[in-house]
Symmetry: C2
């Protein structure tokens, strides 16, 4: 399972029961929280997502609608007697804020928070099965996007070839990793004649609050699902630019340039009660678009 | 109109769609926010309370369930182009936290926040028609209660006596304030023979998170409505003591000692899904008790 569950899809002012930004990425047994707007802990309860499984939280930037739920979540995890370490990836100025908040409450958490300040683009989490990269996006203050990638899976050995070339099981691992095989007779069998490709690795790119900028398409190149903000409809392109946000058409253009398979749009301005036009405008340019709706899990495939 | 609207009645961990602490006191055209747990701005919208009318916010203490909604509310007031000054009465360590939060977001509010650090018991807001006092309660960290009092209203002049003693209108104000009247013939007429008492002033005392402590009854002496926390049922008195909280029976005892007219109880632990027993246990000791339920406005009379 690789998917993303939307907990908040609204821009700064909560409205129409839409909440500030938060998303949970599920990758097999792992869960990651991206951004943590006010009320995220309530949204986690509402959609029955266990906070105990979240070991990494990624904060894109320090506008309140992306992290004002974090002190409450961290505190509640403590009240629920969490023991596992929590890794927090965020802009550096968040650290002294959290330190002061915990100090003012005289709170000693029963678990360890590892604060990782975002400072250089590249891999920030590297697991056997997946990696997470951060990259810069273009907002009024320092702001980051994140790409979650499955690692390239091992190739599968064609079972018929095992008997045919008398391949010992000790050689399986190297062959899966792409090595050729040398038979008893000294004959080299090319790896592609022994193995079948596995499903290609999937990826999810989250582009937080940002103005339209083509380098984002480079960072999100070939992703399976691209989340791009669309704070405004196309007609407010100038307002979007002046506030370092994007429109429907701009998000679609990034999806095309990135050659993304699917596009998810969100961070809707409180000006708009209805969201239909967001989908219509974006789909005209990039048909494989979906609205990021709260409580819905979008599969990454 | 003098009343209190409950926005959050739960203790630290939000549960069962109960929210962390926040209350709005309405006193004629004035509205005051007491505490501001996470999600308060959404609760204000849900119950259609206009944030623009709130000019004073009182924060009892710096446990997150009493103020983690404040940065979001202050920021949203700015996004809504608030112009009126906002007065914030809170423990001193809140100031550097808010400063850092606004600085990290590069936010310049379009209105002025006056921060008033709570440090001495007594009157903190003094208006022609009402006053607000703060007093210390007994929690694990510095914690304050607040009393909202109508000012003693002027006495009413008995209309029959105006003709009888030929009282000129120029003398009315002094008589309403309690002065005697001297007639043309030099005769002194006692004030109580000229005037009728107005309705007695009403008051609301908010006792934030606190363990049982009799001095609270002194501070809330003779109040019309007393809000006292009841985090736990009676059987958990020891746990209440160890965590600096109170039980049903303890809140009722404070109401009796204070000679309060009515008691409102809240800050229920997330252990309890049903609240009936809170009302039952408290009412046995102090019959004029009500549960503080979210969305409900309790009249102070």
């Amino acid at each position: 399972m690789f998917g993303v569950t939307i907990l908040g899809n609204n821009s700064a002012l909560p409205a129409y029961d839409r909440h500030p930004t938060a998303q949970v990425v599920t990758l097999d047994q792992f869960q990651f929280l991206i951004d943590c707007g006010e009320g995220t802990q309530m949204q986690l309860s509402r959609y029955k997502i266990r906070r105990s499984r979240i070991n990494h939280i990624f904060i894109s930037h320090l506008h309140g609608d992306h992290y004002f739920g974090l002190p409450g979540l961290i505190t509640s995890m403590g009240l629920l007697n969490r023991e596992n370490d929590l890794h927090l990836h965020a802009p550096a100025p968040l650290k002294p804020i959290l330190d002061l908040v915990l100090q003012a409450a005289d709170t000693r958490l029963p678990y360890t928070v590892h604060f990782h300040a975002l400072d250089t683009e590249g891999v920030i989490v590297d697991d056997a099965k997946f990696s997470v990269e951060c990259f810069k996006v273009f907002h009024r203050i320092e702001c980051w996007g994140f790409v979650f990638r499955e690692k390239k899976p091992l190739r599968k050995i064609d079972k018929e070839k095992i008997g045919q070339y008398k391949i010992p099981s000790a050689a399986f691992d190297l062959i899966k990793m792409g090595e050729d095989f040398i038979t008893n007779k000294g004959e080299r069998i090319a790896n592609e004649d022994l193995t079948i490709a596995n499903t290609p690795p999937r990826s999810y790119a989250y582009c937080a609050d940002t103005m339209y900028h083509e380098t984002i398409a480079e960072k999100a190149k070939e992703v399976t699902v691209l989340y791009h903000e669309t704070t405004y409809l196309h007609e407010l392109e100038e307002r979007a630019f002046s506030r370092f946000h994007s429109t429907t058409v701009q998000a679609a253009q990034i999806a095309i340039k990135a050659n993304a398979k699917r596009l998810l749009i969100g961070h809707f301005s409180s000006k708009y009660e209805q969201l239909d036009e967001f989908l219509e405008e974006t789909s005209v340019v990039f048909p494989e678009t979906e609205l990021a709706l709260e409580g819905v899990t979008y599969r990454v495939l």
